[in-house]
Symmetry: C2
């Protein structure tokens, strides 16, 4: 198997499993307990909090709130703001946010709990900053949210400028940094930000754990109440092993980030080979490789049915994605790609490949061959430019 779907989820690092196991086997005490057996879990959580804080250069570990994942982290930032912002507030997002944010804002807007303005992106997948500025200059715009990197195209959004504009207009600025953290440097002190969402399983940590970074000067109204865990900001018995795993993954990620040029080199080789050897292939999103995550390649294969290609590639042992893993099963083309101005036909002929530091040179070489073969099979069946569904076998 050649796993090229690391934006969907990643392989747990062996060091992470090793760090987690003691907390799954022998040291099972409840961190809220008063006895030593519980306090040792409490201390281990403190260490993990430091590791997570260090990865994103938080001011202090206390700014980290552990959650059950990226979805809950983003939800917590949004729901918290909704609870303390004035009732007539406008929430400003981009049109290409992850469905977590997109659907939540849509649902609240429908119930008239907030106003929602979406700022469009250009064909490169980059935010229209003038439009962003214009939306935020309206006095009722009090919450701005922009992803750090897009999950489908890997495009790195201009968080620096977007955050500065939000600050100048007095708006709260949240970033869904789930796809960026662990792949590129994310420094929450470098921009004027209030919160950022992190997911464990996107950076070779476990599934079912995430974190919300909240600026120590920002308000946070909890959603889950009860036991008062996480300094009263997220109740519920701590997922101790998961937290330890996220901490360890955060520590290990520093090395991967430092070597991201190697990662990008491998991705670029993969991408160049397909662009050069299959006629008509194009990158979705900016063609500047450095303006994208170093691991992501979202490619358009003209005249090839994306779903059909995925099936052939699955048979050949390659895991990749038609966009976001979450949207599988849905027949609609990617919202991200269509919002970038691409046609529905192009969106349906596009496939996302996402590498990791575990991806080898040999795997990339083999993947190139297998993808070329699969595309050729589909192109034999279908005339170039056609949008008929590919073979099903």
């Amino acid at each position: 198997m050649i796993y090229l779907d690391n934006n969907a989820t990643t392989k747990l690092a062996p060091e992470v499993l090793e760090a987690m196991l003691p907390w799954m086997v022998d040291h099972y005490g409840n961190p809220s307990a008063g006895y030593r057996f519980g306090k040792e879990a409490r201390r281990a959580i403190d260490t993990a909090r430091e590791q997570a804080a260090a990865l994103i250069n938080a001011h202090s570990p206390e700014e980290i709130i552990f959650t059950s994942g990226g979805t809950e982290s983003n939800h917590l930032a949004l729901a918290s703001a909704l609870s303390w912002l004035p009732p007539d507030s406008t929430f400003v997002s981009s049109t290409i946010e992850h469905s977590v944010i997109h659907e939540w804002l849509g649902a609240q807007a429908e119930k008239e709990r907030l106003s929602w303005e979406q700022v469009s992106v250009n064909e490169d997948g980059q935010l229209h900053l003038d439009e962003w500025s214009e939306q935020l200059s309206r006095s009722e715009s009090r919450f701005a949210t922009l992803m750090w990197a897009n999950n489908e195209t890997g495009v790195l959004l201009d968080v620096e400028k977007a955050a500065a504009i939000a600050e100048s207009q007095g708006a709260y600025f949240h970033s869904d940094a789930v796809q960026a953290v662990g792949k590129v440097p994310v420094d929450v002190q470098s921009h004027p930000m209030q919160s950022a969402a992190i997911s464990g399983h996107k950076l070779h940590g476990p599934k079912g754990i995430g974190a919300l970074w909240v600026n120590r000067h920002s308000r946070l109204h909890p959603v889950l109440l009860g036991g008062g865990q996480e300094n009263n900001r997220r109740s519920g018995t701590e997922n101790v092993a998961g937290i330890i795993g996220l901490g360890k993954a955060a520590e290990l990620a520093q090395a991967h980030i430092a070597r991201r040029e190697e990662q990008q080199g491998l991705r670029d080789r993969f991408e160049s080979a397909l662009l050069g050897e299959i006629e008509g292939v194009e990158v979705n999103g900016t063609t500047e490789p450095a303006r994208r995550l170093p691991n992501t390649s979202n490619l358009y294969f003209p005249g090839v049915d994306g779903e059909g290609l995925l099936i052939l590639l699955d048979q050949a042992g390659i895991c990749c994605s038609p966009g976001s893993a979450c949207s599988t099963g849905a027949v609609t083309p990617s919202r991200v790609l269509t919002q970038m101005g691409y046609s529905r036909a192009r969106a349906k002929s596009s496939v996302r490949f996402s590498l990791s530091h575990l991806t080898t040179e040999d795997e990339v070489t083999e993947a190139i061959t297998l993808i070329k073969e699969a595309v050729k099979k589909l192109q034999i069946v279908l005339p170039t430019g056609s949008r008929v569904v590919g073979p099903r076998r």
Copy 2:
């Protein structure tokens, strides 16, 4: 170490860890993915859903929604109902609900999003059914929530009658079954219920995973939106290993429940020894052993500072709790005990011991000796009946 705090959390069963490991190591695919490597995770989740459904005799596995734990499960049931019930609805609970439910209802009532009526309990810890009936007979009472078993005293609430009354009044009935599931039979078809909360780590499953059972005829408005996982009822990449672990724990729990009389026998021996050999010791909650969880013993040690006793017992290697683990650090006496009519002094002189099927005869014998010694030390220092804080060393 003698671990007598199984109502706080339990040791992960080795079989559960074994079931989880493949999904943490090799089979890390995203269950939402379209390729085989993802679909195998999807199928494993389906099996776990069947296992969880079987434990509580759900009508079908689809009634199980996996969450991040008991706190989220309870929150989901409550928040869902709040979103679709009419604005003037009254939520009726008991005075001894877990803080998850208690604090959430309190917070919503404070914001005037709902009315909240609490029904009191008697000295046995049992619900006043006449009061319950009276509250629910008011037309605006549309949501009733009652825990299946109390976490501090182990008292089994009269869910059967409470649910029947709620049904007769047309109210939604939710039960926080977190402490009961895995210890006693919980059959969601035996009473007219709409939803029930389950936690993995309370039944020798992993921390960070739980489930909400929702009757197939009941409405459920999701809180976490986005990827559409859990049949659009709880978005977020699935905690695959955690779910597999909860499933396996649910399967194993059937055997423990079948042997609950043995469990109760051991608990009764423990309790009788302390009642008989230390002067003045009394049980908090009903003295009918069968009306309590078979593993729980909440005891009053007259004249003994509970916190001091916990410190001595910790030094002696015994883990137990001053009430609910979640409330550690707080100086207020247990709300549950004071709501049962006990004095603050009694609450502060009370300790909860909770066994599991892993607790051995020898451990119980040794614990009895060590508890007697510790109590004697504290009683030497303090005259009987005094409420002065015990020695701190």
